[in-house]
């Protein structure tokens, strides 16, 4: 209790006694005087006891009385504070003194109020609100003090302050413009907002937000966002806003009410996203452009398709035209040539002897003979020209019939030399050297046309060489291509003409007028190039005037150079000792080998087929296809035609010639116009219709191999043909298990109604007239698209 001052206690007790006496007297007086004072006192006592604040009566800074709440506040037991100095309230001397200094104020009748930290008995502190007043404005009569614990209040205030500070920091440092708006007037605007709109500090304060908008319409649109806000939602707007200087910028505007009450105002953030907007616009534009381009591409593809069809028609017309022109030109030419010859013979035989030594007449006879020779020579030249024009036209139109077969290089070179033997005989000054590397691989090609090339090149060499030699060299070059060089010691040509001489009607002028007229038709080299290109090879020339020229051609080899003695007939038989292919078609997934030089198409077909449950392998050219087929043992092959190294046509020929592979169905898929003549089992143009592609593949796979006919059910074919003509298409060869019937496009629905089941074969040129969806809808029907083969009658 710390009361080691017995004198003071005694004095206080005495005083207490005195006071009680005083109270008693007062009560008595109060009772007498209608008890008003006693009642007052009672009220005061009640207040003292029930107060939620701590109350103390203090004299000389010593607690004379303290209510329970005060003791509770400071953590003392009941009565414990009685007689205690108030110093125990304060955490430190300074705050004690500070309050002490306020006493002088109390003496003047003022009320002292202070919020401060106080200390509990256990030393912990709490925020309190302290207020005091002197009794009778006389300090000597003591003072009453009230202590309230305001810890919560204080903390809340602190928190608010903190939040306010934070908000202010956010407000000012935000990269968005932020405005507090009430009734569409800015109450506050942050620095960023001022910056965005180009206003000076404080300039926006109190301004209506109308200044944000370029026009009344957008102001109104933004105004409609307040309906959203009123519903408690956040509004988002993207629009153009106006800078103070009148310039516009793209912005994102978001607004939200404060405390979900529009009356409290709303907060708006403004973000300039002009750059982003421009980028987005650019992306959109690019996307539009891409879509546009795609559409255009699709359109032009369709257009191309149409053009292609038209061209094919035109091509046919051109072909027919050329054929009749050829006939029409030949007839008069035959007369000119034949009659000139007859005239010459008759003239020499019957008229020349009649000159009788007349020198003038003899001269005229010679002149006539010479002139007749000119007519003959020129008609021969015209004949060659017509032949070459026709050749070239046919090759270019893809109408040349190529007869591809394995060719032994050495054989075919000897043929060429034999064919040109006559020319060498006429020019004994020229020697011929032939150097053929032994064991050259086989090439696949049209022997007649390749011979034509070689003969043409040798002829040229002889034609333009007066003396020296012509060397023909055939070897396998470092790229594993067969290379044939024809080198002469003739007049040559300027190097800059090396390309031009392969153009039509181009012959090198040899830099002077030495050649009074071209010796050939001017088409020979153009034809050579076409033929070699078609075989997947290349032909070019090198020369220097008067230093001879070298014509070089390369052709792809069909087989690897044989290591064993050369196999006659071309294809080395495949030994099946180590990799006998047992193709089990009844189990597992059907296997398809996709052959195409375009990786995109390979992937596309592979994916498409894999999705359909096929096992797929791919090869990028005919040669790879052959070796892949041995290992992979496909049930079907899809074959592109135009490919490097070995084209599809050659590959098909080799597949057909191979005892092990000849049964594999091959579906030709190509963009080149004569795909139908390539020798596949079916053919489709590029790009194929996905559905038909799969259907055709399935059709071909259901087709059993021809050597197990006994186990096979008969397949019924319904072959469509053009009603006006005889069947335009017949299958190349159909086996015993096929039963083929013909029907016109118009008859087809009737035949289907009559219950036809099986394979409907549609020549590709009739495809457009047939409703494929109708056929697809019937599961008992299969559709096969056939290439068009002209019927010869």
């Amino acid at each position: 209790m710390g009361t080691d001052n017995p004198d003071l206690v005694e004095a206080l007790e005495a005083e207490n006694l005195m006071l009680r006496e005083e109270i008693r007297v007062l009560r008595g007086t109060a009772e007498v005087a209608d008890h008003p004072i006693a009642e007052q006192l009672e009220i005061m006592t009640a207040v003292f006891d029930s107060s939620t604040a701590g109350i103390a009566f203090i004299k000389d800074r010593i607690m004379v009385r303290a209510n329970n709440k005060l003791e509770e506040l400071f953590g003392y037991d009941s009565g414990e504070l009685h007689g205690q100095p108030t110093r125990c309230w304060y955490p430190d001397e300074e705050s004690y003194r500070t309050v002490g200094e306020a006493y002088s104020n109390l003496a003047k009748g003022n009320i002292y109020r202070q919020e401060m930290q106080m200390q509990r008995k256990d030393g912990s502190r709490f925020w309190s609100r302290l207020s005091g007043r002197a009794l009778y404005d006389d300090l000597s009569r003591g003072s009453v003090w009230m202590v309230e614990d305001i810890t919560f209040e204080h903390e809340a205030a602190e928190e608010i302050l903190q939040t306010k500070e934070e908000m202010a920091a956010i407000f000012e440092t935000s990269t968005f413009g932020v405005a507090l708006v009430k009734d569409r007037v800015m109450i506050r605007a942050n620095k960023k907002l001022e910056e965005l709109f180009g206003y000076g500090p404080g300039e926006l304060h109190g301004q209506p937000t109308r200044c944000w908008y370029p026009d009344e319409a957008s102001y109104r649109i933004a105004g409609e966002a307040y309906y959203e806000l009123a519903r408690g939602n956040t509004a988002h707007l993207t629009m153009q806003m106006r800078h103070k200087d009148g310039s516009l910028f793209w912005s994102r505007l978001s607004g939200r009410t404060i405390s979900s009450n529009l009356l409290h105002g709303s907060v708006w953030t403004v973000e300039d996203f002009t750059v982003e907007h421009e980028a987005t616009e650019a992306v959109l534009k690019a996307k539009d452009a891409a879509e546009d381009a795609e559409r255009k591409l699709r359109d032009s593809y369709m257009e191309l398709e149409k053009t292609n069809q038209r061209l094919q028609k035109l091509d046919q017309m051109k072909s027919d035209f050329l054929s009749s022109v050829s006939h029409e030109l030949r007839t008069p030419l035959t007369s000119i040539r034949g009659f000139s010859q007859l005239i010459e013979r008759e003239f020499v035989r019957s008229f020349a002897p009649l000159t009788n030594g007349d020198a003038g007449l003899e001269k005229k006879v010679l002149r006539v003979q010479e002139n007749l020779k000119i007519i003959l020579k020129e008609s021969e030249r015209l004949t060659r020209l017509i032949n070459d024009v026709l050749d070239l036209a046919k090759i270019e139109a893809g109408r040349t019939e190529w007869r591809d077969a394995p060719i032994q290089v050495a054989d075919f070179m000897r043929d060429a030399v034999n064919a040109t033997y006559g020319m060498f005989e006429q020019k004994p000054e020229i020697t011929l050297q032939l150097d053929i590397q032994p064991d050259l691989p086989i090439i696949i090609g049209d022997a007649d046309h390749l011979l034509q090339v070689l003969v043409n090149l040798i002829n040229n060499a002889v034609k333009f060489t007066d003396s020296g030699s012509i060397m023909i060299h055939a070897f396998l070059n470092s790229d594993s291509l067969i290379q044939i060089e024809i080198r002469d010691t003739g007049i040559g040509f300027p190097p800059e003409d090396a390309e031009a001489i392969f153009d039509k009607f181009q012959q090198s002028m040899h830099g002077d007028t030495l050649q009074d007229r071209p010796k050939g038709t001017g088409l020979g080299l153009a034809i050579c190039r076409e033929i070699i290109n078609r075989h997947g090879g290349r032909v070019w020339a090198q020369s220097q005037p008067n230093h001879g020229s070298t014509f070089t051609l390369t052709l792809p080899a069909a087989t690897k150079p044989p290591t064993s003695p050369v196999s006659v007939g071309g294809i080395a038989p495949v030994s099946d000792d180590d990799r006998t292919i047992v193709s089990d078609r009844s189990q597992g997934k059907p296997k398809v080998l996709v052959v195409d030089d375009d990786p995109g198409i390979r992937d596309y077909f592979a994916q498409l087929l894999q999705e359909q449950g096929f096992e797929v392998a791919t090869a990028m050219d005919g040669q790879m296809a052959l070796s892949a087929a041995r290992g992979f043992a496909p049930d079907l092959i899809t074959m592109d035609l135009a490919m490097p190294v070995m084209d599809g046509r050659t590959a098909i020929a080799l597949f057909r010639a191979d005892p092990e592979l000849h049964n594999i169905p091959i579906m030709v898929i190509s963009a080149i116009p004569d795909w139908e003549a390539a020798g596949g089992d079916a053919a489709m143009g590029k790009p194929p219709n996905e559905e038909l592609f799969i259907k055709n593949i399935r059709s071909l796979l259901n087709q059993p191999t021809t050597n197990n006919t006994e186990t096979t059910e008969t397949v019924h074919f319904l072959m469509l043909y053009d009603g006006e003509h005889a069947p335009t298409t017949v299958p190349k060869a159909y086996a015993a298990w096929c039963e083929v019937d013909f029907c016109t496009v118009r008859e087809l629905p009737t035949r289907l109604c009559a219950g036809f089941k099986g394979m409907v074969a549609i020549p590709v040129d009739l495809l457009s007239q047939v409703d494929i969806s109708l056929l697809n809808a019937d599961p008992s029907l299969k559709v096969m698209v056939l290439p068009v083969v002209a019927v010869e009658s």
Binding site: S323, S326, H327, R330, T331, P332, L333, T334, S335, I336, R337, G338, F339, Q341, L342, S379, T383, N387, L390, D391, K394, E401, E792
Partner: protein, 125 residues
Amino acid sequence: MFKTIVIVDDEVHIRALLEQTLEELEGEPRIFTAVNGVEGITLIERERANLVFLDVMMPLMNGYEVCAAVRGNPDLADTTIVMLTAKGQESDRTRGLEVGAHHFVTKPFDPDEIIALAQKILTVS
């Protein structure tokens, strides 16, 4: 015995050219000309021709048809047929062979070639 040659061509100059060329043959063969296939087949049958020069493209009846008709007549088994084709038409040759032609001469032809060929055929037959 005189040999008989029939020339079938719709072109008057070609007929004349062939006729004049063939006049130079040894053994003075009899030469007939026809301007179309129908006339041609009549002449060939009537004259039991040893040798026929036959154009392909003709009105009424083309060369193949004439050829096929000749081959279909057992009385004309000894008649040799030379077809006059246009160069570059390999299919002409193929079809000609199919219908039983023996030789092909490409237009424009060389009169010397015609004489050599005709001489050979007439000597053998």
